[in-house]
Symmetry: C2
């Protein structure tokens, strides 16, 4: 077995989820990741925990078994899987591994059945968010193709981003958390196309060092909900449910999107914005800090942590990034959009320059 | 997809388990059976049931993921998987598909850890026996190899035995059930080596037509526990937990094994007999009636239903084959041993000839 697979398993079991004796562990993993499944299983056994292993059926799985299930079902027939809900309820740690063999596997699923499945699955999301979990990636040929990379180069990319010293990463990122916590205003500029100001007054910053998401590597908070002003060009393309959005351009007033455009996928962007009132506001402001992620790969699990980037998410804000007397933006969506900060870019916090051309004030590459 | 795979899925979903709207269905299936998983999923969706799909972790799975789990664990660390237990408890229908890629995958697992896992798993067996379930086989290269057959010939063999008219089979077998129900004594002879008499007075006969076992195809009852007299040569070899027993020879007195021998695996046979007092007595007397199973394949799911055979199981008797005022033989084991009845063989019920050289009195091939 590839040593990097063993390392990946160790990061998941010991760092991300901290599996201990008597934990009930659920591993949801696709067949393509067989060696990672075996490596995880061995460690779970060694920690004295229990293990149940599943393919994973959920509205984002993109696997061929659930595809056929949905192809067989009628919209009004999709019920909440109560047995799966009970399984999640009594599970201490869930490990989700992505790595299906075809990332467009669900193109043949009817959108109305998919939507019905999402709705039926909704009660299970709460069970999952309550417990310990880790969502991670196995480097399949299909995801390499999505990234426009060879499979071996993609393996290096994925495992370099995942198998690293997460304690050092946590400490490194803590320096940005310190700059954000207690600050009032932030201004982000990139080229001629992005210049926004937002209040982060009273909003806690969170440090993501590879626990619920693996790879981790970002610091994030929520802007005060009605505070964003200005315009942003999201120059890193993203895939939203299999459809690309390229160069989305948003204009904000009083925290709300008042104008939108894109070079590609304007309709997708419009659909997102029309989901509900919260979808027109920003629920997350994130700073990518994983420098082993040095290129975008059409995979938000990686792209949003890329060094030299920031991202805004339209929609739902995480509870832990919203201050006690602040309003939490609520929405059915949470869509991350990314800005390249590597050139002609700067971030100011309370008037002080903290990032220039991708480098933070506490990093070696930072130059005035 | 192979039409036989679709047919197999239909038999499982509609005949064996009768899946209906709102049933919570759990499918435990190995990756080698991907196409069958997809075919089942489509039908489960079409019936309006829910679906969760797992690799299946249990003490008999023989899969590489549980193998590694057990290799990682220490004997005293194997706990009951409570989340899996809750899953089974809230599941209406469980479908178990066998078809691992290597039938000797667990040779590297320590017997003490395996035994600890069996013990930890024991509470889950009750949950499984309570509900609707179907155990079936996918024809992999590994099982073809075990059967000493080419993979394509083995596929024909498996699907011929499974994809058949089970209503007709049920009616055919009902004729033997009728002969057994209400009868007092049975005598079974084969060559010079097998001649036993047993009382079946007050013991109900069961008709297996492919519900909990697929393929089905047997009629079975339990002998009155202290009634078997005589000797039997089990001339069809069997595999018991990966070890072969060939030509087991047992002598019964007052229903108990008083002498045993075998050409191969005498130690395995002795271990079985020494498990507990119930292991020295017979819990099942079965009649193989699936004529599409025309050869033994080292797989008890098939072998025991082979036409022209009968089998006795040492150990546990099924509750539904034991009359109200009769003693149910109890044991931790239930080991089926098979006798070829195709030549120079006969079965008498209450002195009347009902089978000769494999053919029952109600079958075309029966000749006096």
């Amino acid at each position: 077995m590839d040593e990097r697979v063993r390392d990946h398993a160790e990061v998941i079991v010991d760092h991300s989820t901290g599996i201990e004796a008597d934990d009930n562990v659920l591993l949801e993993i696709p067949p393509a990741a067989q060696d990672l499944a075996e490596a995880i299983a061995e460690l779970v056994g060694a920690r004295g925990a229990t293990l149940y292993t599943a393919y994973g059926n959920n509205p984002h799985r993109n696997d061929p078994i659930t595809r056929n299930y949905l192809q067989g079902a009628e919209t009004d027939e999709v019920e909440t899987p109560e047995h799966q809900r009970e399984l999640y309820k009594t599970t201490d740690v869930v490990i989700f591994v992505r790595g299906e063999r075809n990332v467009t596997e669900w193109q043949s699923v009817s959108p109305s059945v998919h939507a019905a499945y999402q709705q039926a699955f909704e009660p299970l999301m709460g069970e999952l968010l309550d417990g310990r979990s880790c969502a991670t990636q196995y480097p399949t040929a299909s995801f390499a193709q999505l990234a426009e990379m060879s499979t071996d180069a993609y393996e290096d990319f994925v495992w370099d981003a995942i198998n690293k010293d997460w304690d050092a990463q946590r400490e490194h990122q803590a320096q940005l958390v310190e700059l954000l916590d207690g600050a009032s205003e932030i201004r982000i500029q990139s080229g001629d196309t992005t210049d926004i100001r937002a209040s982060i007054d009273g909003m806690p910053a969170a440090n993501d060092y590879g626990e619920r998401n693996l790879p981790g590597g970002e610091v994030y908070t929520a802007p005060v909900v009605d505070s964003i002003e200005g315009q942003v060009l999201f120059d890193i393309p993203i895939y939203h449910e299999g459809r690309e959005i390229e160069n989305a351009h948003l204009t904000f007033e009083d925290g709300e999107v008042i104008a939108h455009d894109a070079d590609r996928g304007t309709d997708v962007l419009a659909e997102i914005l029309e989901t509900d009132p919260g979808a027109r506001r920003v629920g997350e402001l994130g700073f990518g800090m994983n420098r082993d992620i040095d290129r975008f790969t059409h995979n938000i699990l990686f792209d949003e942590k890329m060094g030299d980037t920031i991202h805004l998410a339209l929609g739902h804000a995480y509870e832990w990034t919203v201050g006690e007397n602040r309003k939490q933006n609520e929405s059915a969506v949470h869509v991350d959009l990314i800005v390249d900060m590597s050139e002609n870019a700067r971030i100011e916090i309370d008037g002080e320059l903290v990032q220039q051309n991708g480098y933070y004030v506490f990093e070696d590459g930072f130059e005035l």
